[in-house]
Amino acid sequence: MVAVRSRADRLVASTLRRHLLIALGAAVVLLLLSAQIGAYDDYNLTAVAIFAVAAAGLTLLTGLNGQLSLGHGALMAIGAYTTSLLLKDHRQLPVIVVLLISVVSAGVIGIAFGYAAARLRGPYLAGATLTLAVALPQVATRYKSIFGGESGLTVPPSAPPDWLGADFPPERWLAWIAVAAAVVTMLLLANLLRSAPGRAFKAVRDNEAAAALAGIDVARTQVLAFVISAACAGLAGALFAYWSGITSPAGFSLSLSLQLITAIVIGGLGSLAGAVWGSIVLVFVPLLTSGLASSVHLPSAVADNLPLAIYGGILVIAMLVAPHGIQGALRRILAIGRARREHTPGGGQKGVVDWDDPAPGT
């Protein structure tokens, strides 16, 4: 028993350290990578990082807390418009300040919406969030003088700091910012999920009555998940504004919200790593399919629609082959490998254990 306990204590103590190491490693690898690739790939790397931030937030809400949101594109729009409005009046505001204010503004909207969401379940919640996705861009169209209407607001790029040299590519600078934001987001979420709130999120998702009986305030847990998720979407939206250089209603259509859902399902619902896989698929598969379509010299009517058709086909096949997403498939492959190793004679097979004796050494 003593051995079991001290091992568990060490595991708890080292979780933070392990997450920090993974985050640091990922940051270093991505920074080195960004220096090796051209401006175009830096641009795509930024897109992956942006989607990863939004998808991670959605994973927390939908995958781990069981609240389906079809309106995360709208929450991204709140971050993007906050950034655009801030930069319109204060061009020199440091990036970090702009990002933080955008996170807070989306988070505040998230509180209001989270309270409504906590009263709704399943299809009703999906419907309400869908309304958000459809209605919010209309606000920008309606109040032209503030939000710039259909043509939107332009966003000045964030200039690389002087110490990086005069000819440092701005695409790489933005990639650094987005990667840093994504790594920090992942680190914070990973630690959150391994602590008490994370267990509460999952408990509420699995069985609300049982969670309440365990002393969890179900409504408050749901609001908290919504707020954190909205804050992530706000951060992604702010980065999106810098990335696209323009914030307009068309950039935050319903299809953006649906793409985010697609990303977390393909990546593996309920896992942060899955959110990253999904974002990679979301950015690179359309690029691949459009490259493929243009290389075979088809009439433009076909070539224009081919990427979407291939993309759809890939989604269907992915769901058939790996219903638990990419992360689920990876886990299964790893588990099979481990089981093969352990099935040698005397290996760790499950057996009948006497009632009172814990299995030795586990």
């Binding site: 999952k202 699995d206 069985n207 049982a210 969670a211 309440a212 009986l213 365990a214 002393g215 009172d356």
Partner: protein, 235 residues
Amino acid sequence: MLEVIDLTVAYGPVVALHGVSLTVADGSMTAVLGANGAGKTTLVRTISGLTRPHGGSIRLDGRDITRLAPDAIARLGVAHVPQGQGVLAELTVDENLRLGGLWRRDPGGQRHALAEAYDLFPRLASRRHLAAFSLSGGERQMLSVGRALVARARVLLLDEPSLGLARLVLVQIMARIRALVTERGLTVLLIEQNAKSALSVADEGIVLHLGKVVARGRAQQLLSEERLRHAYLGF
């Protein structure tokens, strides 16, 4: 002390409990007996706040908890172990146990309580990092009870722990709970269809029939009443 006073609960036109009163003293175990549909589960669901009563009140140590939300009642130390569904299937054994201490602000005490739960049910320690859905019925029951202990529950509401359990497993779980009642002053309300085994561990017994209390008394005394055994308890 848990007091239920003149409790009436109805589902639409169907009255499930009709003016039920009972008292469970600290450090004692009361068995609630009765056939299917007698209102046993409704009684515990109402005490833990999952079902709202139409009349009457519930008091914990003199404090009225009738209108509190389920999570607030749980935080006051009332742990409801529902019929075979108390565990969260997707969470690991360890995560399930930690849920019990979620709102507590004393990490040291929580660690101690966790270790205690594993000591009480060593079987859980060996399953620590497995998802709860992979557990057997008996292990799930242990997990539910273990979580109540981590929550430092003072009152345990056990809803038919015998359901689907092998007799030997049940006897072991009940022996451990009985020990907690005697040694720690745990207060237990035990819901059972199996009257004979329930009365063998409980101090007091109450027989429900169609939502009304038809008999109550010391467990030994109920066991020996010929008329009661034939009419309601079926042994």
